[in-house]
Symmetry: C2
Subunit: 494 residues, 2 copies
């Protein structure tokens, strides 16, 4: 009976995982399948499940078992699992239920109104709702920071990227800011001299879907354990044994759905290759949002827009859409690597994307730490857009500070994950190159398995065994270093 | 606080209903969407949900509240709800958990092996597994019958068709047996003189799907609250707010999927029109399996194969498959009403179908009541097939007593629902005719809404407010009477 408490915990978390399974499939269904009339009943069912999961996780016995298990004789992996269990418990148990409920209500109200307000460029209507979400998020950050001992914003950041701090982010982002605007300027200038041939649409939805499936197969997606469907906001959902990715199709746009599918396939392969021997346990889950995003960006950017990959993809494109002049390797590669300064983060290329993230990070951290207020956002947004991307958003709330959904429901602390992911991805690719001397010639020959094998061995199969830092050091020999991202962008775009 | 216990119960059943919602969607997904690799994790998640639901429903407090609510001042509808709650509680709480688990395991084992054994005509391999399922079902029937005071088989019958007894079924089925074989003989003889033109396939799946959707629209299916998909065993699932029906397509067969969809649309409209004001409460659920089957057969047989309906459907068929010689109203109607004696229940027409059901009822009731043993089944099957349908199944287990899935997992007591449904449907149609003097001319003009309105008013909107007998008496002026089914068959087929 020496692991009695630990075993009680594994049983409890297995149970929670099974309920999460049902919640994940119901969420996927809601986005990809459900007719509108099912919405209210589905919302109630999922809320009831959420209450149940919260009750199970924050039961007093769980706290006792967590304390008791600390005294038990656990293996390294079991200790890692216990650490992740403790983390999950604390995240759920720290907040009073009244705050959780108030935050959920305020978030729903803000997001619901935002859908119309964004269209109408209605900042005045939006601001009071956002203010309430910020008020409650500050309260959450305060409570979490009291327990962890750091800054309020860091306590929210830690939810998505455990172990990351704003002081570390400040250093990383200061480095990016020191060279990225200049690099961006050079790339835009260089590309302004290119003459590209546009692919000719329309690109029928069904052919785009078939092409997406081809790309998924090329990228090793396991169709015995997953599906591709359609939803208005693409995502990767489901469970590791049955990963559901979605996309949306625009018949005038070939790249958007295609690279969207490649992006989600990166998330999917991570999920599909999480350690199955600990299935249902916290240690079997993906390490962090930043690491998750590193896998999707590895697929979409590092590999997906490389010459080697596009060489394999082009015949599939030609099979679906004919042999167009745009579909030469050089033209199509250049076309996939176009860089353009724009207002919208989700449409941004990999060179300008970090500017969007840094801007948001700087504003949201100041907001949560109480250094600025909601009414300061539009001016700050405009100032930083001018500074980082040379664009004015004055009076343009719709395509400025009202463009994202993240803040409306209190997801402060998430944005950095995107750029952390881009940096991890570049560093991982370089490490794979070093570990596999034949890698580039293998990729050029269309043999991607060695690369996927390396990702599986170094990232996917570890789940949450290690901290993110440990994982990255083990995989690449050093902790996160923005140099690799810079090298990648310079090599590809200059 | 005068309804305190009752209110505790409504909250508990609402919670149960929300968990059922998630289970229903997960079941639908498993049949219609899930890749094979998701099977094990899904099975575990659903089993965990089943344990939770059983715990909630059989909690001691539920028994106390049920007793307490009896003393409270409840409206008629609340009393009906309390009656259905009590029924649900007793069904769940009567059996020891060990028996539930043993039955589930034996059923899974028997069904799993049956899939191969049926193909191999392997009765010797199948019989011992079935014997174990029968042993446990007898134990279940004994426990339930002790509580209810009736015969063992009646206690199982009551699960699917509350209030029905074998003594009543014996009378109803004796009547059918007195005229049906003779009627069947006459119809077969009459039809042997017909010369029919066969529709020419192939019938592409996508066009069949579109036709199915057309038929559903014609039949008033609410697409804002439901979907049509594909599964290997067609069913109607989901929740009243979001009904999921499925079919399967055979490109050589136009009728099978089409009438399958029409059948499931009957189930679906019942579900979509259950009383929404009591959503989540037992009183808002469909009355019984027999009444449910009456609605699907009303749509598939009473209305669906009528001249009036086919007149509306034919232009849709022609739109999808061209103007074939087979698609004249006379030919197509005759073709949809073909009667043929066959071995397989699920392929049977409405004239020969009851013979299949009566045979199974006679065997399963004797089996559960301990009057025969598993090894007696094949001989009895053969004897009754000869008697009712003039066909021998000697040595032909595959297309004889091994053809259905019902017994393999212990679903004894279900079969009578099919023929009760056929009889209810005929009686309801006649009552609608009496209540709506213009009905036949409305139907002939393609105006089906008055008929659907009558079904909604008399059946759908009542959920489980009344007992089945009360419901049928209120709707038709008398209790179930097989005369209407006989009249219908004679009018249509002779």
């Amino acid at each position: 009976m020496e692991k009695n408490h630990y075993q009680q915990l594994t049983r409890t978390f297995q149970r929670l995982s099974r309920f999460s399974h049902l919640g994940s499939i119901a969420h996927w269904d809601m986005a990809a399948m459900m007719p509108a009339g099912g919405s209210e009943a589905r919302g109630e069912a999922l809320a009831e499940l959420g209450v149940l999961q919260h009750q199970i996780l924050t039961d007093k016995k769980v706290a006792e078992w967590l304390a008791g298990a600390q005294q038990e004789n656990l293996s390294d992996d079991e200790q890692a699992n216990l650490r992740e269990m403790t983390r999950a418990y604390q995240q759920a148990a720290l907040l009073p239920e009244s705050l959780v409920e108030a935050k959920s209500l305020a978030g729903n109200r803000c997001e619901h109104a935002w859908r119309t307000q964004r269209k109408n460029n209605d900042w005045a209507g939006f601001a009071p709702n956002l203010q309430e979400v910020v008020r409650l998020s500050r309260e959450e950050a305060r409570i979490r920071a009291e327990a962890s001992g750091g800054k309020p914003y860091d306590a929210l950041l830690d939810i998505y990227e455990p172990g990351m701090t704003s002081s570390r982010l400040d250093v990383l982002f200061a480095d990016l800011k020191s060279w990225l605007p200049d690099l961006l300027q050079k790339v835009v200038e260089k590309q302004s001299g290119q003459t590209l041939i546009d692919p000719q649409g329309p690109f029928p939805t069904d052919s785009q879907r078939q092409l997406g499936l081809d790309a998924m197969a090329l990228l090793g997606f396991d169709f015995n354990g997953g599906r591709l469907d359609v939803s208005s906001h693409p995502f990767c959902g489901g469970v590791p044994e049955d990963v559901r990715i979605t996309t949306r199709y625009d018949e005038n746009d070939l790249l958007s759905a295609l690279f969207g599918v490649i992006h989600e396939t990166g998330h999917a392969r991570y999920e599909q290759n999480l350690p199955r021997q600990w299935a249902g346990q916290p240690v079997a889950q993906a390490r962090s949002m930043g690491v998750h995003e590193s896998q999707s960006l590895f697929f979409e950017m590092q590999l997906g827009r490389s010459n080697a990959f596009l060489k394999q993809l082009l015949p599939m494109i030609q099979q679906r859409f004919g042999n167009q002049p745009a579909f030469t390797l050089d033209n199509f590669t250049a076309w996939s690597q176009r860089v353009e300064r724009g207002y919208i983060r989700v449409d941004a290329d990999e060179v300008s994307y970090p500017a969007h993230v840094i801007l948001r990070y700087e504003i949201e951290s100041a907001l949560i730490n109480g250094e600025i207020e909601v009414e300061d956002i539009p001016a700050l947004w405009n100032e930083k857009m001018q500074q980082y991307l040379g664009l004015s958003t004055e009076g343009n709330y719709r395509n400025g500070c009202m463009q994202d959904i993240h803040w409306t429901d209190g997801g402060f602390g998430y944005f950095p994950s995107y750029t952390l992911g881009a940096m991890y991805a570049a560093q991982l690719f370089q490490a794979a190159r070093k570990a596999l001397p034949e890698l580039d010639s293998q990729l050029n020959a269309g043999n991607f398995s060695p690369l996927f094998g390396w990702l599986k061995e170094n990232i996917w199969q570890h789940g949450s065994r290690f901290s993110t830092s440990e994982l990255i050091v083990k995989a690449t020999g050093e902790d996160l270093n923005s140099r690799y991202f810079r090298d990648h962008l310079m090599a590809r775009y200059l």
